[in-house]
Symmetry: C2
């Protein structure tokens, strides 16, 4: 079959990164871009090297009505997802959707239902899931000789967004656009990582940590939570818009530990790493200790966002040429991630009571 034809809704900052990734992929063709302002779309298309034969529209509807669009990438603010994913699915467009995918499970289920009824592929924009590093780490984590039984997974994503009084310069400071604040934006990644480490099994309880912070515009700027699985395994995360960059995840097993310092966005595109520590031993009289440690380097010729779009296009291409069916994994794990985020929010709003799932 031919190239998968992608339309883009809006001129979001995050989309510039994905467009750059799409342009690396011969199996992708960007055929349309819609913005509420045609002038803005023109400037954005030129700046981002969108092919000159792509159609530019002064509305999102224009993209959805374009028969030369197979799938849409929707990087709109979360508050607009229900409307535009629903419309896109009704127009039979496959959907790659930025995270957090929704404000509520009800809205998410509403638009996933439309996706499903129209036999469309859905994928959320969690890029790190598609980096080859994650597949390698999965093998290590499930090698019981190395890590043993996973006991604790701890994820932290902190980045200083320069939050100031009246902070609305960023859509993440506007509750009607991105109502989950740091929880939706970067807590999403922490939550997804913990879920990933536990093979997407759901915890039994979600309990927010005390001390969550809100901006004066009413969005979360700092929070954290603990997840507890039925068999006692634990997940802990901290996320914040207020501190220096920390992007760390640690999986602690009974025998070994896997650690990664840039789990969401690798510092470098072409090479990144993770560390495995095992066989920790105390010296005599505990005067010191040691462990076998290895830094594993992972190379990739395509950045993770391109790999994400490539996988999305592979699935969409299969559906289009009749060789494949929609892969439900991506909507399932997006939904599970969203359930946990909403549970954290509910726990925050109930003074950190545990939320039973």
């Amino acid at each position: 079959m031919g190239r998968v034809r992608i339309g883009i809704l809006g001129c979001a900052g995050i989309a510039e990164k994905l467009i750059r990734g799409m342009l690396l992929l011969p199996e992708i063709q960007i055929t349309a871009l819609g913005s509420r302002s045609l002038t803005k779309a023109q400037g954005y298309a030129a700046k981002n090297h969108i092919p000159v034969d792509a159609k530019l529209y002064d509305s999102y509807d224009g993209v959805l009505d374009d028969p030369n669009v197979d799938a849409v990438y929707i990087p709109l603010p979360t508050g607009l997802h229900l409307e535009w994913v629903t419309k896109a699915a009704e127009k039979k467009k496959h959907v790659l959707l930025e995270k957090p995918v929704s404000h509520t499970i009800e809205e998410l289920d509403a638009f996933l239902g439309v996706i499903d009824r129209n036999h469309l592929q859905f994928m959320d924009g969690t890029m790190f899931m598609h980096h080859p590093r994650l597949a390698q780490m999965h093998q290590v984590l499930h090698n019981r000789d190395v890590v043993g039984d996973i006991q604790e997974v701890i994820a932290m994503f902190i980045t200083n967004l320069g939050v100031q009084p009246g902070w609305t310069s960023d859509i993440r400071g506007q509750p009607h656009l991105d109502g989950l604040g740091c929880l939706g934006d970067i807590g999403w990644y922490c939550t997804r990582f913990v879920l990933w480490a536990y093979d997407f099994q759901m915890p039994k309880t979600v309990t927010a940590h005390p001390g969550s912070k809100l901006s004066d515009t009413g969005v979360l700027t700092s929070c954290g939570a603990s997840f507890e699985w039925p068999d006692g395994r634990m997940g802990t995360f901290r996320c914040s818009f207020l501190g220096d960059m920390v992007m760390k995840a640690i999986c602690v097993g009974s025998k070994g530990t896997l650690e990664i310092d840039d789990f969401v966005i690798p510092r470098q595109e072409d090479v990144c790493s993770y560390r495995v520590k095992e066989a920790a031993t105390w010296q005599d009289r505990s005067i010191g200790w040691g462990a076998r440690e290895e830094v594993h380097q992972v190379m990739t010729s395509l950045p993770q966002e391109a790999l994400m779009v490539q996988e999305f296009a592979r699935l969409v291409g299969g559906i289009l040429d009749g060789t494949g069916k929609p892969e439900p994994l991506w909507s399932t794990i997006a939904r599970n991630t969203q359930i946990l985020l909403n549970a954290v929010k509910a726990s925050i709003e109930s003074y950190c009571q545990p939320i039973t799932l």
Copy 2:
């Protein structure tokens, strides 16, 4: 003045490390060792190179009654601290006490009161406090140009003790001896580190994380908690006897981060390190990120346990020769650490309700 003369109560494993440290110090003389078994004391003294002129007693009382003992080191299980610290203080012996110092604040205040009334020096056995690394890290943490405002401190100490059903081979598995389990043993260090990072100011609330675990002998084997300060700063810790070694602390400021991978016991005695990261910046389109990072190495000719005993002996020596007075810092921070541990325990026992201090 002459050397400070130290007596040791019991033949504890942890004491072997401290004795080795004491033997490195010309200002210290080990003059007595007491055990319930004289044979055991003899074997232990020989094994640990305790000077042959030290008196060996078949009781702890023998050490306390010895006029050639200025100060005692008490590495007995926590459940025996009230009795033996009280007796030691009544016999005018200065006290270096292993941690956790107590099971309850009431017991702690009882024996600290006797220490105080007898104008004696008290110090708890938190060795890392005395490593020169900590003083260097303190300077970095309080350099607002580097770290900015501290927002979050996260400490983790996990070590696999091979907990099995009926686990009483270790005193830490016996609730009447070390009733706080992992919380008292290694949670002590996490709590102390967080307190240290916040200059020993006390948080306003202490909230245990869900999912604490108990051995079948009834001691905590895994737990964690969140501390919240009145100005919103946060502390988080995890401690466990069930997982591979993790001994990590991270102080996240608005501008920079300080990180240490072996905060309780440096891997090597003579050289260890900490890392400072600052000026994190995203690359264009967030395709990667970078930061200025520096690994600071710290050398020490004496191990941290020797430095601890040295400081204890310096304070005791000053009192003995009339040039100094008891330094209250050490009992104050031991008490503050104990208050937090007991609050974590109270929170665990009340289904993770926040405990207001």
